[in-house]
């Protein structure tokens, strides 16, 4: 167990360093300046003298290697610098966004898992049936949908036409505001999970040990409960992990559409305002999250699959 973790971390650290370097280099050549004036429908005016001063203050005119060295040194001790825009520490800025982001992701993933895995399961248990056909057509359609388009449709249907749910925003952080963005974000992973689960369960149902289980005189239900579920889970959990890990990045579109105060909307806002420290911080967090989730998945494997636990 510890060995797995250690091996994992040994992999994670260089990746993280590389990401930091890459993100820094990418964004240090970004054209446009955070203090440019034409943002916000041309409503913001900027004094060029102030601009110069701020560039100096933020060290933007220093040579690149020097800035890079500084950035790495600071990042290593958890200091992501100060946002150009708000003048607050980036860690603080991001800290405010993590909880809404996590909430949205967990809700979206819960939706994806509950609906996707269930559909995939039902489809696999009755291959070729109506349930199978309908859910697989739904799944492949879900994968073919433009996310913002789908979100907008949800908004029109559930907020405007049916008036069941609020259309946007975070509200007081209650569940009602969470539902629509979570579905919009979750539909992609849901579709993928439905397909994966179906394939995985079909795989397992064709496995020899399931035939053994049947030869024991077990009811289908027990076959599924005792032997199919866990084995299918091993296959499904990879996809869950990959999806969950990249969800923070995927959420950009949904967060922008629904004005959800997560890391994704901070990122896109910061990109447009050229707030480099915030952009770098957001991407770093997104990558970190991905790596963390994948490490968790590895640990989950160890818990579920004895073959890994005993180091095969």
């Amino acid at each position: 167990m510890l060995l797995v973790l250690a091996r994992r971390l040994a992999n994670v650290v260089p990746t993280l360093v590389a990401v930091i370097a890459l993100v820094f280099l990418l964004f240090s050549v970004l054209p446009g300046s955070f203090i440019s004036g034409m943002g916000e429908d041309g409503r913001t005016t900027i004094d060029p003298a102030v601009m110069e001063r701020m560039r100096k203050e933020m060290g933007l005119d220093d040579p690149l290697p020097e800035r890079f060295a500084k950035y790495i040194a600071h990042t290593a001790v958890g200091d992501l610098g100060k946002s150009f825009r708000t003048r607050e520490p980036v860690t603080y800025l991001i800290g405010q966004r993590i909880w809404p982001s996590l909430k949205l992701m967990f809700a979206a993933m819960a939706f994806a898992i509950v609906v996707g895995v269930t559909l995939g399961f039902l489809a696999a248990l009755r291959p070729g049936s109506l349930v199978d056909t309908v859910s697989m057509v739904a799944a492949i359609s879900g994968l073919s949908l433009s996310q913002f388009w789908f979100g907008l449709m949800l908004m029109y249907l559930f907020a405007l036409t049916l008036q069941w749910l609020p259309s946007f925003g975070y509200g007081d952080g209650g569940i009602m505001h969470l539902i629509l963005p979570a579905i919009a974000l979750g539909v992609g992973p849901m579709a993928l999970l439905a397909r994966t689960t179906r394939a995985a369960v079909l795989d397992v149902l064709n496995a020899d040990f399931v035939r053994t289980a049947r030869s024991k005189g077990m009811s289908e239900r027990r076959v599924v409960e005792w032997h199919v579920l866990r084995n299918a889970l091993v296959l499904v959990i990879t996809i869950i992990g990959l999806q969950f890990g990249s969800l923070m990045g995927q959420a950009v579109v949904v967060e922008k559409l629904f004005a959800w105060p997560g890391v994704g909307s901070l990122l896109i806002d910061s990109v447009f305002q050229r707030d480099m420290p915030a952009v770098q911080g957001c991407i770093l967090l997104i990558v970190l999250f991905f790596l963390a989730i994948n490490t968790l998945v590895d640990i989950a494997y160890v818990a579920i699959d004895p073959r890994i636990r005993y180091g095969r």
């Binding site: 916000e40 825009r85 004005a259």
Partner: protein, 547 residues
Amino acid sequence: MPSDRFVQGEMLMRILVWSAVAAFALMGAGVADAQQAQTPRKGGVIRMTAPYAASFGSLDPQATPRAQDDIVNKAIHRTLYNWDTANSKLVLELAKSVSVSDDGLVYTYKLRDDAYFHNGRKMTADDIIYSYTRIMDGKKGYPGARYIRLIKGATDVEKGTAKEISGLRKIDDYTLEITITDRVDPGYYLFSGSTAILPKEEAEKPDFASHPVGLGPFKFKEHIPGSRVVMERFDKFYKPGKPYADRLEVLIMAEAAARDVAFRNKEIDTSILGPAQYVAYRADPQLAKGILEVPEMFTRSIQFNLADGGAKPFKDKRVRQAFNLAIDSDLIIKRLVKDKAYRAVSWLPPSSASFDKTMKPYAHDPEKAKKLLAEAGYPNGFEFELTTSQNESWGMPIVEAIMPMLAKVGIKIKPKLVEVTVLTEIAMKGEHQAYIGSSLTGPDSLATLRCYYSKTPRTACNYTGFSSPAFDKLLDEAGQTGDMAKRTDLLKQANNVLYDEAPVWFFNYNKAVLAHQPWIHGLQANPTEITHQYPEDIWVDATSPAK
């Protein structure tokens, strides 16, 4: 029918042009009448929207130059002057009276003695001195510095050679003397949100930006970054009986499509409308009742780069005039911008006192344009690169519409699409042949026209690199005179010079449109920025669904 359109346009112009004041009175009349019939209700919740970005930059009003942030700052903070929307002029906000010295450089203010900060302390002259000095902290690069530099000795503080601004003198707690360096109305400078007056004891706390304390009618309660700011009524606000509402929420909604749904779903009280939604809302009998229209002080134009880095043809005045003649601007405004704009005549908007009511915009005359081009030596036209953003009102869609029109006189456009943040930088560096954009053209007409003054550097705002001795002379004279009427007249002449020289394609002046719910009253038609409302005047009646 072109003639119909023309008549319509002319009528519209006449109404506007008559005087800005009359225009505003007209626009605001419906709202005002309805309000007078009812007494403002105390209590309730106001839910405004912040449409320009997905977050607020900073709630420290001095630290941000952004229109988005000022929506909140107008509620929490106060500046020495304010823009009186109803009368379209600057008024004293934190002072009761002011006297000006004969040379027009020394202003003595009698300050309010009833203005309290949200922490309960009364505002004095020291607070204003502190606030202005804070803005000039050279290490911080506060955006308001450009305004405070008007005060004598401010730049010394900025450079670090002085600790105090010599032009600020406290006479007693409620009397302040300000010495300025130019004969201009300091109100144009000291009404900007980034010159808000802050209490020292709060502003020096490290978390001030997340717990702002000010003089405004509402005090800060909660900020969910990226989502909303919630404020509560400040009971010791200096205007008696105000504010009306118990609570003010400013909800961030940058996505227009989502805002539309939210507004129709009655989740928000106000929403900024783009051209497409403007049409839809006007067509809906219910929604049409809640539309507030304002001619904003923004001029949309294509700025030609007349310097050596630009396209050579634009150096010829006739080419620039031909450009203006070749485009059917009225058609674009009517069909594409959906009448959510007023046809531009010259650079200054009609709300400016220096706007010449007798001037008519360039006509749509492709034949004359061809003739001018031929005279200038381009009988077969030419090709140039037009830098543009994606903005729906002054970006790519407009370019797409003028492309075929210009093609008819032989001018070919190669559009170069960039982001808005990059646009300004390109303009500042002069790396463009021409760009299409939007410029703030008020309320200070002198400052506005300085953008075509030959000594104004490109980085400041002379993006065209325009240089005309006649224009310079008019502007010099206008700056030197203390006679406001004379100044107005000189600026009018200068504006007309611009019309003739056509350093830009005069496209339109923006019509800002704010949709509002029927239960919200007292909204102001602010021509500098329609989302900037003084919330103490707004109230909601009992039909509001918000609790």
